[in-house]
């Protein structure tokens, strides 16, 4: 057991809140969330913090640990030098409710606005649509998303510029990609991505990919392919000409 120092944000807004220092006995194998629980148990019973599974699957315990978005339950204390003070602050991109709990409701509003799945008409004699595993593997990668919103938190468009109303953010580009690239879907979401999703605001600096706890290649496999699809429709004069000539696409 070793005594470690933590600085944890306390308060109900970033303007008036403060970093409060705690010293906690920490043992081998402990994660940041364990330390927060020990602080709750021994020193600050009113410390607000969301958590649920402690297994990196519920996506509840996201916070900034030493300035980097992390799931507290998956961040080992042994990743930091013993003499380093560990600073835990609420997710920067969202309003603080209290201490480490933030209001992420904007994400659920954005989710509701996404165009829904539009099933492809049945093309087999038994009245069903069939697809092969090899062609559905691509959108399956995006199904790993646990909706922790760390990608939304680190994205500078939301984190620094607070463009929640104009930009749906990486998590919802991933969600759009699930449907848009699905073999059984025929929806065209390019207009939505450009006009309402604000995909042009993304400058592909890959912070979202760096922080994803599920290692989804958000930028390379979701956002850039969607940007290319938008380019097909709006920024490719050759395709525009082809569409005019053939009436397709």
């Amino acid at each position: 057991m070793a005594l470690r120092k933590f600085r944890i944000f306390r308060g109900d807004s970033r303007e008036t809140g403060e970093l409060v220092e705690f010293e906690v006995e920490c043992g081998e194998g402990m994660v940041v969330l364990d330390a927060v629980h020990r602080i709750q148990a021994e020193q600050a019973p009113d410390l607000a913090c969301r958590w649920n599974c402690k297994a990196g699957k519920c996506g509840s315990c996201g916070a900034d640990v030493n300035g980097k978005p992390k799931l507290m339950c998956m961040t080992r204390l042994s990743d930091y030098p013993e003499d380093e003070v560990i600073t835990i602050t609420p997710m920067r991109a969202f309003p603080v409710i209290r201490d480490l709990a933030t209001d992420v409701s904007i994400n659920y509003e954005n989710n509701r606005r996404l165009p829904h799945f539009q099933p492809r008409p049945a093309d087999f004699e038994d009245g069903e649509f069939r697809m092969y595993q090899w062609e559905v593997e691509r959108p399956q990668e995006f199904r790993k998303c646990i909706e922790c919103f760390l990608c939304q938190n680190v994205c500078h468009v939301l984190r620094t510029h607070d463009k929640h109303q104009e930009f749906i953010g990486p998590a919802f580009f991933v969600r759009t990609a699930v449907y848009e690239m699905h073999p059984a879907d025929v929806g065209d979401r390019r207009e939505h991505l450009k006009e309402h999703g604000g995909i042009g605001l993304c400058n592909i600096t890959k912070c979202c990919t760096e922080v994803c706890p599920e290692k989804i290649k958000i930028t390379d496999n979701a956002i850039i392919p969607l940007k290319e699809r938008v380019a097909d429709k709006y920024y490719d004069p050759l395709r525009w000409l082809l569409r005019k000539l053939t009436g397709r696409g």
């Binding site: 944000f9 705690f22 500078h156 400058n203 097909d232």
Partner: protein, 269 residues
Amino acid sequence: MATSHCCKDIIERSFGATLRRDNWWVEPLTMVVVLLGFVIYSVWRAFEHANYWGGPYLSPFYSPHFSVDLPRWCSPAFLIIWVPAGFRFTCYYFRKAYYRSFASQPIACGVGKPWKSYSGESKLLLFQNLHRFFLYLAIAFIVVHIYDLVKATRWPVSAAAAYTSPHHAAGPTEFGIGIGTIVILIDVILLTGYVSGCHAFRHLVGGCIDAPSRVFLGRLRHRIWRGVNVFNEHHNMWGWISLAWVGFTDFYIRMVASGTISLEFDRLF
């Protein structure tokens, strides 16, 4: 229990404000140094308008070479260098690199920016969507570089016979390999690897198809798409190595062209 205040870092409202403790500035600084170094070297070489071919070798900065009369101030490099420059400038990976390191948009994840407003690639930078057109030209350039490679294996039969212009030797030629041939071969391999992993290429070959089993040649295109993914996963690595090697290729050919490295020394067999 002690209390401390550092709202500047919590809010990240000023440039460089962050709670990060790691050396986040190393990566953008390295990129500035490397990219700026490459740009300065290439612009200098383009303006130099000399020592761009020697023996059977033609510098990639001057290839394809057009035999046209140009004003004295205009180097033939300017006729072609905009193609690889445009391809790399609009490349999705290099965009990330220079947005971070040169434009601080953002300089690193979770670090304060110097800018108050932001429009991303939605206004002034809409031209980045032209990347696919630079891709078409880049593929044509690779074909030209392969031609240069073939020409780099043709040596004059008589040692006394000299080259009169890029790729044109006086008298008959024979097959031969020099160090420069191998340098150009590696350059072609690296450039092909870099272009093969291009995101726009991946989209065009099969990424734009959702249900390959319902499309003509869909299975084949899906396989090609998977192959392109192999290169795409390491697109940054291919990008950096090919950038460094194309610079080295030009440097080596300059050494041959200026006589610092003789053709006798260069030729292996």
